[in-house]
Symmetry: C2
Subunit: 185 residues, 2 copies
DNA sequence: ATAAACTTTCAGTAATTTCTGAAACTTCAG
DNA sequence: CTGAAGTTTCAGAAATTACTGAAAGTTTAT
């Protein structure tokens, strides 16, 4: 499983970026390797290609599976586990968004809900609570919306994205189109 | 500048979450404190309230300014610098998205562009390059779209988000509405 | 020009996160 | 049941990242 120069560059870069995307260097490298390799690949091959310990590889694969980005692929007649991407690029990107939302937004929403139940003791607190409420509502909108976008499915989502600034025009016309939907806000 | 229990809880939580949001614990705490405090606050007050060194506070404020999340606020007749949020909650959220896009997507786009210029040496490389191209296109769509959403401004963005699943129905009707916009993809 | 009031920088230290590798565990063929 | 082939766990080591505090720098009033 030697890596070509092109794959090496890409793998190294995804390693560097890994930490910004919510996982660590080796996890990023492993993901890139699995995605860029057309064939299923074993944990041992990953260890060798990336020069990382077998233990670290195992941890990395476990984490990637918890993110639902890679999955096991059983090869008949083989004892070892092979790994492949858990879907196409779109699916993977969706999964990353979703997981990150869970890690980055949900815990805050939960805390904010709790804090908003308390009765403010002072004006200062009332003011802070009001701000926290704004944050809560914003995060909730983002969460709900991102779920709805995901439910659209890749094709429609792609249409929407490619629509670009046309969205603005569409919104201006929406009242005519979708009567009853304009009562929000 | 003593913090009330409510503010303390929120500040601590934003500190914990900080690292997931792209900055470190103290930077998260400082941001929360500035946002939740209705009055402008000095670097010294921040140091005292959070029990962190003056140096660390200075670094944190510098970083928050580089993210354009807080700004200085000059109080007439005062020598010290006071700090306040750089806008309302919506603005701040937008800034976070934008900065993160710059840090998380742009460098990868740039590398991918370079790698796509190389002529693949083998089938294996050609396959990998094809995948990289898919990733590049996806990231580009995301970038372009997020810019367009920002240009809509908060009100329209809010309308769009609140529209929720109505978006799906609207997309089905869009061809009738916006002829010529359906030629993409 | 001086000094008081405040801010920033940065070398060293502390805290946290990631990685290794050996031991424990699992699975399966014979 | 045994052992070979493979995987996982986890304590400690290494690497990275964040923090402190003292020294250097800046600004402004006089």
């Amino acid at each position: 499983m030697k890596m070509t120069p092109l794959i090496t560059s890409a793998v190294m870069h995804f390693g560097e970026m890994g930490s910004r995307w919510g996982f660590n260097r080796t996890v990023g490298q492993i993901l890139a390797l699995i995605v860029l390799n057309e064939e299923p690949i074993t944990a041992q091959e990953i260890s060798d290609a990336l020069n990382i310990s077998r233990g670290n590889t195992s941890m990395g694969l476990k984490e990637l599976q918890s993110w639902r980005l890679v999955k096991q692929h059983l090869v008949p007649g083989e004892r070892k586990d092979f790994f492949i991407p858990a879907g196409d690029i779109w699916t993977l990107a969706n999964r990353v968004f979703e997981e990150r939302r869970k890690r980055e937004i949900d815990p805050t929403m939960s805390l904010l809900r709790d804090l908003l139940l308390d009765t403010p003791a002072t004006d200062k607190e009332a003011n802070a609570q009001h701000k926290l409420n704004e944050i809560h509502d914003l995060l909730e909108s983002i969460t709900v919306w991102s779920e709805e976008l995901q439910n659209l499915g890749p094709e429609k989502l792609n249409t929407l994205m490619k629509l670009g600034s046309g969205v603005g025009r569409m919104l201006e016309l929406k009242d005519k189109l979708l009567p009853g939907k304009n009562s929000v806000n």
